[in-house]
């Protein structure tokens, strides 16, 4: 059964300190550490593009598993900051990795919810077309669109990328997905030239819609809190993750928070945390991501191969 075999990620070495912005934005340490939960955010080099970040994540994946490039028959990139408007970034990744000419490539234009949609898309597409070895990339270099005078965005977002290897000898398979959209609120996170985010509207959306969505997904899957080992939530900010967790009445030990040193990496946020949880002794993990669109999605994944638990 097709599922997640492994995940690797890449974070640029260059980091900007939010402590250096305390005077500019009138911040204190408590706000940086306990409210936004971002001490430093990663920034790529100016000449790096989304495809370069994908290649670096792939290079890290090759350190974790043996990959035969010829075997890759599907390559998807989730990004809203592609290298160019034309062509799709997955074609550029295909070229740089020298993948086979029999490999299907396409991009998915989604933001924070992109990993969940990407996971569903790549598994369904591979199943429908009898493909065997897929690469799902996420790379959304927001440093290209940040307004450095905007407190709502300049403190939060970090550059980074991930790649998820999809194959039949999977460590985790997906039990089911659930998705949602509220397009009437699309203006609340918008980029014309620079990124704009209505912090209050986004907070209200995540605090009200997402706990209800997660509860409904679990109910429809006949799962209770005791059945879920971890809830990996989109790392939008510490305040948002804490608020959703409190509204779900879930113990904090089951909800990892991991963005202190790199920030909100958009569609890479969930797989970056999942990478760290992948080989731990979990059975079921709930993934949930939400943001731009407004769009959200969740997946319940189940461990398939207990011998890999460390």
């Amino acid at each position: 059964m097709l599922g997640i075999k492994d995940i690797a990620s890449y974070l640029p070495e260059k980091r900007i300190s939010n402590y250096d912005k305390k005077d500019k934005f009138e911040l204190d340490d408590d706000f940086i550490e306990n409210k936004i939960g971002v001490k430093y955010h990663t920034v790529k080099e100016d000449d790096e593009k989304a495809s370069d970040l994908c290649i670096k994540a792939f290079n890290n994946l090759t350190k974790k598993m043996d990959i035969n490039i010829e075997d890759i028959d599907c390559c998807i990139v989730v990004t809203q900051n592609p290298d160019f408007n034309i062509p799709h970034t997955s074609a550029i990744v295909h070229g740089k990795l020298e993948l086979s000419n029999n490999c299907a490539c396409f991009d998915i234009s989604l933001g924070c919810s992109g990993y969940i949609y990407g996971l569903s898309n790549i598994i369904s597409f591979m199943q429908s077309n009898n493909l065997k070895n897929g690469l799902l990339f996420t790379a959304d270099p927001y440093s290209e669109i940040i307004d450095h005078n905007d407190k709502n965005t300049d403190l939060i977002f970090g550059d980074g990328s991930t790649v998820t290897y999809i194959s039949e000898d999977a460590l985790y398979t997906v039990k089911d997905f659930k998705f949602g959209t509220n397009g009437s609120a699309y203006k609340e996170i918008l980029c014309d030239e620079k990124l704009y985010m209505n912090g209050r509207a986004v907070f209200n959306f995540t605090a009200t819609t997402i706990p209800k969505h997660i509860k409904l997904h679990m109910e429809q899957s006949n799962l209770e809190d005791k059945d879920v080992d971890k809830y990996i939530l989109h790392q939008g900010s510490k305040y948002i993750v804490d608020t959703i967790r409190k509204r779900l009445k879930v113990d904090s030990s089951k909800v990892p928070f991991d963005m202190y040193e790199y920030g909100n990496t958009v569609s890479s946020a969930v797989p970056m945390v999942l990478e760290k949880e992948l080989y731990k002794a979990h059975n079921k993990i709930l993934l949930c991501a939400y943001g731009i669109g407004l769009s959200w999605g969740s997946a319940i994944i189940e461990k398939q191969n207990s011998k890999d638990i460390k």
């Binding site: 408590d30 936004i36 209505n198 209050r200 907070f203 605090a207 305040y239």
Partner: protein
Amino acid sequence: MKATIENVKEVIEEAEVLGDVNEMKNDVSLSDQGIDSLDVVNVYLLLEEKFDIKIPDEDLMHVQSIDSIIVYINNRV
């Protein structure tokens, strides 16, 4: 439900703001009493949910202190 000093303070406490809610002044803005912007947004959401009202962004200037919150809510419920 009508808003009172007690039930508005309960909402502020539910938002887990820093400091003792009972020590808060009713006629001073929440932000001037050390409640940061994220907690204020949370307080507004909890008020909307408790009193079943909407506080649009353009009305935020009218809900800065506990006293003004009470007047605003009681004009709408």
